[in-house]
């Protein structure tokens, strides 16, 4: 058996979902007995069969990735409830194995996957998706790049044809539910951990995961961003959000303003004041950068859908 063939057989086996009681399945996805699959390439010893030796790796794989993904979405776990959340992430990970060297990107497809698979979104699908979007935006805002920011002085030179570039850590979310405060509270209670070397992990002890209190829909516009190495959620009004969305879409300032205020009830004077204040505030927060976004390689950190 070649090295590649052995690695394919082993990875197929250990990435196969576990049974409900966290054991290796008795049959492979192709219907072969796993005892025969394991015996084909793994040597037994006096204490463990080939199946049992392979099962250690099968269990470790799932413990590790389930734990990593759960840490990124504690709010979603509260919305769905522990049992449904655990079942959901097992289903998601079975279809979306890690494709990069870092566990950081494990949740990059979760929002899109939930939209395609609404049966996993519980009794309040829009709420679940809002929370998942916000939690993934947090992951991105936490460690996406930050380039030299334009300053308030730079604003003196702008005109209608200026094209601004948002910092990669600035993420824009239009949410149906006001989930920001609740997600903040959940994340505050969340212990932080990092990837460690070599060590294996046991099945995580169940944490106390209280459900969210009932939330009523009430749309909000949120900017998730990083300032002084901490992630913040900033609510903005509709026009400001549309302006930022247009800027993100690489529209010129003139076009972006037109789009933002197309349906606004603000008077021209009010609009002028709002625009001036927003740009002063946003440039103080460092949301615009001098570097062209398209020069930045995000290959290893897919944005996913938020």
């Amino acid at each position: 058996m070649s090295l590649l063939e052995l690695q394919r057989r082993m990875s197929d086996s250990i990435m196969q979902p576990l049974t409900k009681d966290y054991r290796m399945r008795s049959r492979s996805v192709r219907g072969q007995p796993m005892s025969a699959v394991a015996a084909d390439f793994i040597r037994p010893n006096s204490r463990l069969t080939s199946f049992e030796r392979l099962e250690i790796y099968n269990q470790q794989y799932w413990y590790r990735i389930v734990s990593a993904l759960s840490e990124d979405f504690p709010g979603l776990s509260r919305v769905l409830g522990e049992k449904k959340f655990d079942a959901m992430i097992l289903a998601y990970l079975a279809e979306n194995p890690s494709t990069t060297f870092t566990l950081r990107n494990l949740g990059s497809n979760l929002v899109a996957w939930l939209r395609k698979n609404p049966k996993w979104t519980g009794a309040t699908p829009d709420l679940a998706i809002d929370v998942a979007r916000l939690e993934w935006a947090y992951v991105e805002a936490f460690d996406n790049a930050e380039y030299p920011a334009i300053t308030t002085e730079d604003l003196a030179d702008i005109g209608d044809d200026t094209i601004f570039t948002l910092q990669p850590h600035v993420r824009l979310l239009d949410l149906d539910y006001p989930v920001d405060d609740l997600v903040l509270a959940v994340h505050r209670d969340q212990p932080v951990s990092d990837v460690v070397s070599n060590a294996v992990s046991g099945k995580q002890a169940p944490r106390s995961r209280k459900r969210f209190p009932g939330l009523q829909p009430s749309p909000i516009f949120l900017v998730v961003h990083r300032f002084d190495f901490s992630v913040y959620y900033k609510r903005v009004r509709s026009e400001a959000f549309q302006l930022l969305q247009a800027i993100e879409a690489r529209k010129s300032l003139g076009e972006a303003l037109e789009m933002a205020f197309a349906e606004s009830l603000a008077t021209p004077t009010e609009q002028a004041n709002l625009i001036q204040n927003w740009f002063l505030n946003w440039s103080e927060l460092g949301w615009f950068c001098k570097t062209e976004l398209d020069k930045h390689s995000m290959d290893a950190h897919p944005h996913g859908e938020i």
């Binding site: 090295l3 394919r8 006096s46 204490r47 460690d143 990092d194 070397s197 070599n198 190495f229 995000m298």
Partner: protein, 295 residues
Amino acid sequence: MAANRFNGYTDLGIGIGLRIPHYRHIFAEKPVVDWFEIISENYMVDGGRPLQVLDQILERYKVVQHGVAMYFGSAQPLNRDHLRRLKLLARRTKTPWLSDHLCWGSVDGRYTHDLLPMPYTREAVATTAANIRQVQDFVEIPVVVENVSSYAEFHESEMTEWEFLNEVVEAADCGILLDVNNIYVSSQNHGFDPLEYVNSVPAERVAQIHIAGHSKFEKYILDTHDHPVLEPVWSLYARAIERCGPTATLLEWDDNIPTFEEVHAEAMKAAKFLNAHSSPSFAEAGTNELQEINR
């Protein structure tokens, strides 16, 4: 200390792994620590707090990078993006050497995020050595490989684990990060003599040593890094130091992490072994090797 060309002729002493629960203590108390080992992948990000923390650590401490996802033993080509990011990080940390594991963990673009054992075959030796050479050429820093703990062996294997390790490091001309806890764990799981392993490793290639705790179950031992170092592992460590000389040593404690002081105190137990072998003869041996290289 056993300075050699595989650890950049450094003699770093006793280090501990940089872990999030200790950040606050480290920044507030600024404890005296010889060096910190970081998990490279935790800092191979584009920005944000991980890099800010790292920069603060680098202002005061020496840092050595330890990777968990290069997968030298992969039958398929190495991930170029990973390599590029690794090199960028190495420029930032000025790590004297880079370590990762003698294992594989991904195939066909799917990552297990585990350190999976190798079949000890000639084909695996050639593939692994070629990958290590490729990394070494790219990063232009000494690369050292760590033996992993394992729970399975393959029918395909044609040699012992230590024979495999020795053949790989010879063919790749790289150093070794000797994890004596991993040797102990694997010896119990596979029924070999751990001392024979330690005695067989080419001492002149050992750049660094790992020590850690493990957990014993009914039928096997798991490498859990959640305990103090156990006595049989200290015995292996003593023998390794006896053979290799006082070598940069790192305590791994990754789960149920106690206070910084407890971890540091556990790591410092290694000092008595290192001091016992800090004799002039070892220092002389290191100097001689250096002179030989400089000629």
